[in-house]
């Protein structure tokens, strides 16, 4: 590693600050109330008492896109709804992430067949997606695992050990 250029001492190292910011952002992801279909009910169940997404600071469901930084696309994105989804995504302030919840948001799910005319096959055709949570509808634990995966993507550290299937 001898060709590594010597970093002069004077420059301020932003790595630590950046890491601290990401840690703060990861622990206070405010989702936007954006329920499209069946997965919205599972998202509400995740926010309710039993599965309680509030433990990770995810509890404040902001109605307006301006104050939310995580858009959980829960349900089928319809061709009539597509421009509205893109506009909502544009309205969100910059450090924003998208979690595609359910098969419909990932790939059109059960409504994808040759000759279908109304469903956008996957929300990543419209907006960049960070985490995919498969399932129809995915269980609340799967959604919390998705949020933890997003936090791992942000901070690089995993909060709880990954559960290995037996």
């Amino acid at each position: 590693m001898e060709n590594q250029t010597e970093v002069p001492r004077g420059i301020i190292h932003f790595a630590v600050l950046n890491e601290a910011l990401n840690l703060a952002r990861a622990n206070s992801l405010w989702p936007m109330t954006f329920g499209l279909a069946c997965c919205a009910i599972e998202m509400m169940a995740t926010g309710a008492s039993r599965f309680d997404m509030a433990r990770f600071g995810c509890e404040v469901f902001r109605p307006s896109p301006r104050q939310s930084d995580l858009m959980i696309v829960s349900g089928t994105v319809n061709k009539k709804m597509a421009p509205a989804v893109v506009r909502l995504y544009d309205q969100m302030p910059e450090p924003k992430w998208v979690l595609a919840m359910g098969n419909c948001a990932i790939s059109g799910g059960p409504f994808k067949f040759p000759g279908q005319y109304a469903v956008v096959e996957g929300v990543d055709k419209l907006i960049p997606v960070d985490v995919y949570v498969p399932g129809c509808p995915p269980r609340p634990e799967a959604l919390i695992e998705g949020v933890l995966k997003l936090e791992e993507k942000l901070t690089g550290k995993r909060r709880w050990p990954v559960v290995k299937p037996a």
């Binding site: 009539k80 000759g115 279908q116 005319y117 109304a118």
Partner: protein, 151 residues
């Protein structure tokens, strides 16, 4: 029973229509309806006024595309709230030029059902106040449930 008297009136309306029209009582268990009336497209409003007077409620308006016979069928389902009896009014229109008079003046609830039938089959409901696409995007000009809809 009220249904028999109603059936006779409907038969009167149906008989002056084309030959195969007629009012027949059917068993609820087998077909889910107590009476079926096949009426010419022009006489639909008259039949529906009879049913409205008798206190029926509009359940659903179904469009069917009979590609083989080059015909479109519109099926109106009416239910009597008090007793749960169901009367079905059927009309057949040529597939090339499907036009049926609207009944949204009598039943405002039928407004959306008719718009939906127009969306999926292109059946034009004459006199409908707002025949824009309901479920499909505003600028949709295709009719997906037609048998020859090859996307």
């Amino acid at each position: 029973m009220a249904l028999e008297s109603l059936l006779k009136q409907l038969a009167a309306v149906a008989l002056c229509g084309p030959a195969e029209a007629g009012a027949t009582a059917t068993s609820h268990a087998a077909r889910g309806s107590d009476a079926e009336v096949t009426v010419a497209p022009g006489r639909v409003v008259e039949a529906v006024q009879l049913l409205d007077a008798a206190g029926f409620m509009v359940e659903a308006i179904t469009g069917v595309d009979w590609l083989a016979e080059q015909q479109m069928e519109v099926v109106y389902d009416f239910t009597l709230v008090a007793t749960g009896e169901r009367v079905v009014v059927r009309t057949r229109v040529p597939r090339a030029q499907p036009e049926v008079p609207t009944i949204s003046r009598i039943y405002p609830g039928a407004d959306w059902h008719e718009r939906e039938a127009h969306d999926f089959f292109g059946i034009v409901f004459m006199g409908h106040p707002n025949l824009h696409p309901l479920l499909l995007p505003e600028d949709a000009d295709f009719h997906p449930l037609r048998k020859d809809f090859g996307a």
